[in-house]
Amino acid sequence: MPVIHNRIPLFRAERGISRRALAEAVGVNPQTIGYLERGDYSPSLELAMKIAGHFDVPVELLFSFQPFESVSAALRRAGDLQEP
């Protein structure tokens, strides 16, 4: 079974949402969000879309088969692009 990577912790931190609040919003237990974030569990399409909908982003921005670029690498790349 392929591993599904996600950026739930990043989005949670950015929006200041606790694990419990996100869990209540999408109708699961807080532990399930924890298992998702840790990569121990791959969500159903329904749950993935509910989480993406809660953050108001496309689902592919939150979940991917490929590992996501780290925040520091993305910032460095953005800085390189801005330099003349």
Binding site: R20, N29, Q31, Y41, P43, E46
Partner: protein, 168 residues
């Protein structure tokens, strides 16, 4: 009169809450139980093997199986697998974990049931056991299978997942 009834019912509710039992029912403290299912299965396995090897110690073996059986009965209440028909919120992770845990339990029950019947029947033929001994062996096997049904899901889910807090 209605006010008296309200006070009476409130008092009864408060008395029930003080016992702590309603709290257990509404939100049981589930946790990963690593060693209790191992102990239950070890006791029960030792008991059934003892009864098969030494028919004169069948009662002692039966006692060991009952000890494992009793311990195994408690595991679903406090283990990580949420039982069917309970009052707890069950989400998709719980359902997936429960399916996998019981699949492991049913697989082990199938294997042990077939092996147990073959071994009991074979030993009965070889040693010329009386019918009563064979019946007691089969009762012990049934108790052992119920122990497996109760202990293996907790064992499986406790060892295949790592505990996680609500806001780790």
């Amino acid at each position: 009169m209605p006010r008296f009834n309200d006070r009476l019912l409130d008092g009864l509710d408060a008395a029930a809450k003080r016992t702590g039992i309603p709290g257990l029912v509404t939100k049981p403290r589930r946790r990963h139980l690593y060693w209790l299912p191992v102990v239950a299965l070890t006791l029960a396995t030792a008991g059934i093997v003892l009864g098969l090897v030494r028919t004169d110690l069948l009662t002692e073996g039966y006692g060991l199986i009952m000890a494992g059986f009793t311990l195994a009965m408690v595991l679903p209440i406090f283990g990580p697998v949420k039982i069917w028909g309970g009052s707890e919120v069950v989400d998709e992770f719980d359902r997936v974990m429960r399916s996998r845990a019981f699949l492991a339990a049913f697989a082990s029950i199938s294997v042990v049931a077939v092996l147990g019947m073959l071994v009991s029947g074979g030993l009965a033929l070889l040693n010329g056991w009386p019918v009563l001994v064979l019946v007691r062996q089969l009762i012990a096997l049934i108790l052992y299978l119920i122990t497996l049904y109760s202990a293996v899901p907790t064992l499986y889910s406790s060892w295949t997942t790592q505990p996680i807090g609500e806001d780790d």
